[in-house]
């Protein structure tokens, strides 16, 4: 969570509220923040750390593992209408990539701003080529986009 806290300013600039959730109590969250996270991130964790003791919230989102007794890593991007636009679920040993979360938020915001008239192809980065779905584009994506355009033009072998 420190990696997300460290990039909190970017989330705020994008108008994104962050909520973290684990099965630890709010009291444990406080001590983790005060004794450890605040040493990694100036000022400590700037977003609410929710206490899902018992895993009811995680169960609702399909990320609670009853045999482990914890919520696995689950990241949900929720739009202003309260609709889940993206989800990523990982087992505990591998951490998230905050860059990818931010990239996906920017992409979903672009799609929303254009009311779905634009779609972002694989590896899209802000400033990269977008596609405008239409009848004419069917079978013609190859004229508009190439895998080499992905990742800011770094999609080359």
């Amino acid at each position: 969570m420190s990696a997300v806290a460290d990039r909190y300013a970017e989330f705020q600039e994008l108008g994104v509220d962050v909520i973290s959730v684990s099965v630890d109590s709010q009291f444990v969250h406080k001590i983790w923040n005060d004794t450890e996270l605040s040493k990694m991130v100036d000022g400590g964790v700037p977003f609410p750390m929710a206490a899902d003791t018992g895993g009811a919230v995680g169960t609702l989102y399909g990320v609670y593992n009853p045999s482990l007794g914890v919520n696995v890593r689950g990241r949900f991007i929720i739009d202003p209408d309260g609709v889940i636009q993206a989800m990523e679920v990982l087992t505990p040993p591998v951490g998230r990539n905050v860059d990818e979360t931010i990239r996906q938020i920017k992409a979903f915001q672009r799609v929303r701003e254009t009311e779905g008239k634009e779609a972002t192809p694989s590896g899209w980065q802000p400033g990269g080529k977008v596609l405008k779905p239409s009848a004419d584009l069917v079978g013609n994506v190859w004229k508009e986009w190439n895998p080499k355009d992905a990742y800011g033009g770094k999609g080359t072998k």
């Binding site: 909520i19 964790v45 609410p48 750390m49 609702l60 609709v83």
Partner: protein, 80 residues
Amino acid sequence: MAEKLSCAGPGPDVKGAKAPESAPMAEKREAAPRCVTVAMKAPDFTAPAYLKGEFTRVTLSDHLGRWVALCFYPGDFTFV
């Protein structure tokens, strides 16, 4: 909006949560999937929380009108 401290305070509340609804963009089907997935309304919840020195409660639906990154993780004091 600090919450009164109590060892037996209320835990997370998902009782008001309805079964996931399809968002308007998703095609309505008779048997809706039980698990959440993309293009569905995020189930609402309220949970105790720690925020910047205060004990409070967080409710997902209070954030309607904003984007939200909801991040579950296995536990405090873990390594990754």
